[in-house]
């Protein structure tokens, strides 16, 4: 491995800007770090270069641990967005800078310089000053300069940001070619997904300081694991669907008969449908793929090679669409069609059409939507406007429904609704919340969020589970939550007081939990080992700061609400209960 990052974390003013990033980059690989501005990708690059220190974790380059090695001894070449050329030096002097520092002889320097200028096709410009060159030429000089001392790793920080489209294209080609020719391991940071697709062997997508997913470009595009990656890499329609025994069901239609619920248990899922995977036709019979619903064309936009349509689904306010269109009009399905498709079936705004789906991808995320649940409609509405819940739903690009359960929390009264609890049920934290949680869990609610009125966005999320059956689901839910909040994840393992001799069991479980979180869910978390009673230890840890959240896996709800009553009614921290009984 050329570059190995292990749990790299960097805080800035309390909040993590790079949050537990672990990553292996192979020899000669071209790796692109992609993310919106402020996602921590540039900070991570600077950490690899050694220009900014890290608070936690290790960095090694070519098997050498460089965590505490100064930038100038790391053997990396760095190219900046604004070129950062030395303006008072000629092109030759700029390129030879690293060689001069190393006291290389003039003849060898000149030879190397000529070699580099040939590599970036700038022969003969040796004596120019940077100000006499175009932007593209300046960046070529910067690339040559960064390669002069034969670094083992080339780092590029948004190198095309300041260039216009055509030069950008050209320079992309040059850099890719140079990289292949030298076989140098390269990391490029960008916010431009097209650039990432064009250059990368592998892409890593960052958001809120976390490395969400990594993989080959086509893999990430066709099979994203998270909402963020699905919508950041290209356009995507997110649709709330149900996984039933017959397949994926959207509204009343089964669209993907192959994806069946495994144990016959229905659950809510988030499906990704790319705009180019949607077909429109006059009638259901004319479709050449699975029928989704009927809809109305809202707008038609011609953009050259492709035509963009916005369709509203028939079926009124209960549209399953999660991606909100611009404006208050609400959700609209985005569709792109080729010229050929346009000729086959022309559409006008206002026209009613049949909509079909060619390919659907179901996100593995366990959190689909929120349902604010309370005994009265008014309370439910109020709860659904809680700022943290609204923020969370907005970040997850999902919606908050409300549900009125008059019998909520009354002992001995069975749940009446025929409708099962799908998605994440939310209740307010108050003196009744323990009883209500118990009631809901018995009614079959699987993910239950107990939300205090004044809850803040957490900076730390504590993870714990009681019962091995809940373990995997808890990790999956935690991973999903932590993709959407900038918080550090801490698994708190609590074991009975050791009695005589050490207890190796606790340590092993901790390590297993960490590696499972990493391997199966892509979640990097710290681990802590405590001894004593789980409720006491968790409460003690929570009491350290109000900006925390607890995610707790539960196998048997009855014991749980009894033991954790105090924590559930305290109303100080949000508690997300993940209820999974034995299979």
């Amino acid at each position: 491995m050329s570059i190995v990052l292990d749990q790299v974390t960097k805080h800035y003013g309390g909040a993590p800007v790079v949050n537990d990033v672990s990553l292996d980059i192979g020899d000669g690989e071209f790796f692109v770090l992609l993310g919106p501005s402020g996602s921590g990708k540039s900070t991570l690059l600077r950490a690899i270069a050694g220009l900014s220190g890290i608070d936690h974790g290790r960095i090694s380059l070519h098997g050498r641990d460089v965590t505490h090695v100064a930038a100038r001894r790391r053997g990396v070449g760095l190219v900046f967005q604004n070129y950062a050329l030395f303006r008072h030096m000629t092109v030759a002097e700029n390129i030879e800078f690293a060689l001069r520092v190393r006291r290389m002889r003039a003849r060898a320097r000149r030879q190397r310089r000529e070699e580099l200028l040939r590599l970036v096709s700038l022969e003969g410009l040796d004596e120019r000053l940077p100000a006499q060159l175009s932007g593209g030429q300046q960046q070529r000089v910067a690339v040559a300069r960064a390669l002069a001392h034969k670094p083992e790793v080339l780092l590029l920080d948004e190198p095309f940001g300041a260039l216009d489209a055509k030069i950008r294209e050209e320079l992309r080609g040059t850099i890719r070619q140079v990289q292949r020719e030298l076989g140098i391991t390269t990391v490029l940071v960008t916010h431009d997904q097209e650039e990432a697709f064009a250059m990368a062997d592998r892409i890593g997508v960052m958001n809120l300081g976390r490395l969400l997913e990594r993989g080959a470009p086509h893999e990430l595009y066709s099979r994203p694991a998270t909402r963020f990656v699905a919508t950041f890499l290209g356009a995507a329609n997110l649709i709330l669907a149900r996984r039933t025994a017959d397949g994926i069901q959207i509204g009343a239609t089964i669209v993907a008969p192959t994806e069946r619920a495994s144990n016959g248990r229905e659950n809510e899922v988030v499906a990704v449908v790319r705009p180019e995977e949607i077909e429109v036709a006059a009638t259901r019979e004319a479709l050449r793929c699975g029928f989704l619903a009927r809809g109305v064309v809202e707008s038609v936009m011609f953009t050259g090679a492709l035509e963009r349509l916005r369709l509203s689904l028939a079926g009124g306010p209960h549209t399953p669409l999660l991606t909100l269109g611009e404006g208050a009009a609400g959700a609209a399905l985005q569709v792109t069609r080729t010229q050929y498709e346009q000729r086959l079936f022309e559409v006008q705004p206002g026209q009613s059409v049949a909509i079909g789906v060619r390919r659907i991808h179901v996100l593995p995320t366990p959190l689909s939507s929120f349902t604010a649940c309370a005994p009265t409609v008014q309370e439910a509405e109020e709860l659904s406007r809680q700022p943290l819940l609204v923020e969370l739903a907005a970040r997850m690009a999902t919606r908050i429904a409300t549900r009125c359960e008059p019998q909520l929390g009354q002992p001995g009264v069975p749940c009446q609704g025929t409708d099962s609890f799908v998605g994440t049920t939310v209740i307010a934290a108050n003196p009744q919340s323990a009883a209500r949680a118990d009631w809901l869990l018995r009614c079959g609610a699987r993910d239950l969020l107990v939300l205090p009125e004044a809850a803040r966005a957490p900076q730390r999320v504590l993870i714990h589970w009681i019962g091995e059956a809940a373990r995997s689901a808890t990790l999956a839910v935690s991973a999903s939550v932590l993709r959407h909040v900038a918080a550090e994840a801490v698994y708190v393992g609590v074991f009975p007081e050791p009695q005589g001799g050490a207890q190796p069991r606790g340590m092993r479980e901790l390590l297993d939990a960490r590696s499972e979180a990493q391997a199966a869910h892509g979640l990097e978390m710290r681990t802590e080992l405590h001894f004593g009673d789980a409720e006491q230890q968790l409460t003690r840890r929570l009491a350290e700061s109000p900006a925390q959240m607890l995610i707790i896996g539960v196998e048997h709800p009855a014991q749980f609400t009894e033991r954790f009553r105090a924590l559930l009614v305290s109303g100080r921290w949000p508690v997300l209960i993940v209820h999974r009984g034995p299979a």
Partner: protein, 278 residues
């Protein structure tokens, strides 16, 4: 090349006319009057006045102390500017504002304040006295006063140039293997050299022309701590307008030659950028 440069901006005639009239009235005319007054003297009287031992001593002090003050400000002004530009610390804005204080203070006040501190029984002077260091009423005091009043020029000239030196440049130098000192010497210093020189020039010019603060701290001993502007005032008080003008003329010529030299130096230093701009 025609005298009039083609330009999209209107009003060349107006602005050029205004510049000429303004400069003539404010700068050239008084200077001409100085020269005319000086020529009212006989050649022998002129030489006698400007080459007298007392006059020569005052030139040495005026220009020597001014050069020294400007040099001190070159170093410490840079350090102050560096601190203000590069670091965030509580009270930074306050210190930034404090830099301009010598501008706003009547120079006589500065002189009196300095004398209070550095006189033999002053706050600092009393501790320097046993060490055999006398500040007030010596050339050291003169230098100190000139350093104080010319300091803002040095700081303010360097500050914007430092702001323009991007951190990226240092980062680039570091990843290329340069140590801090090397990066400073090869990257930062060349980038701000013109600004440093400008600061030096301004500080020097300001110091040469200073009068108010120096007369309080210098003690004004002829040949020892008497600056040329004071000598001019002494001539004026004796109604020797010709002599005063003659000394003024000498100061004018020396100052002009020095400033011109520095400007030429600067132009020579910038030739690369000028070439690049073409």
């Amino acid at each position: 090349m025609s005298f009039r440069q083609p330009s999209n901006l209107p009003g060349f005639g107006l602005t050029f006319g205004f510049t000429t009239v303004f400069l003539s009235t404010i700068v050239l005319l008084p200077l001409a009057a100085l020269v005319v007054t000086a020529t009212s003297l006989h050649w022998s009287d002129f030489w006698h006045t400007v080459l007298s031992a007392r006059a020569l001593g005052s030139y040495r002090l005026s220009f020597g102390a001014s050069l020294l003050a400007a040099s001190i400000n070159l170093v410490f002004g840079f350090i102050i500017a560096w601190t203000l530009v590069r670091y965030e610390f509580p009270g930074r804005k306050l210190i930034d504002a404090l830099i301009d204080m010598p501008f706003a203070l009547p120079t006589a006040v500065s002189g009196i304040a300095l004398t209070t501190v550095f006189a033999q029984n002053g706050w600092i002077g009393r501790y320097l006295e046993p060490l055999g260091i006398k500040v007030a009423y010596t050339w050291l005091g003169v230098t100190l006063a000139l350093t104080l009043i010319s300091m803002p020029f040095a700081v303010r000239a360097v500050q914007p140039a430092l702001l323009e030196v991007q951190r990226d440049l240092e980062d680039a130098a570091e990843t290329l293997g340069a140590g801090r000192l090397y990066a400073f010497r090869r990257i930062i210093l060349p980038a701000i050299a013109p600004a440093l020189l400008t600061g030096f020039t301004l500080a020097f010019a300001r110091a040469v022309g200073e009068y108010g603060s120096v007369i309080f701290i210098s003690g004004n001993l002829p040949m020892k701590t008497e600056i040329t502007p004071l000598l001019i005032v002494i001539h004026l008080e004796q109604f020797d307008y010709g002599g005063a003008a003659a000394l003024g003329l000498v100061m004018l010529v020396i100052s002009f030659v020095m400033l011109l030299t520095i400007n030429l130096l600067q132009a020579w230093g910038r030739r690369d950028q000028v070439r690049a701009a073409r």
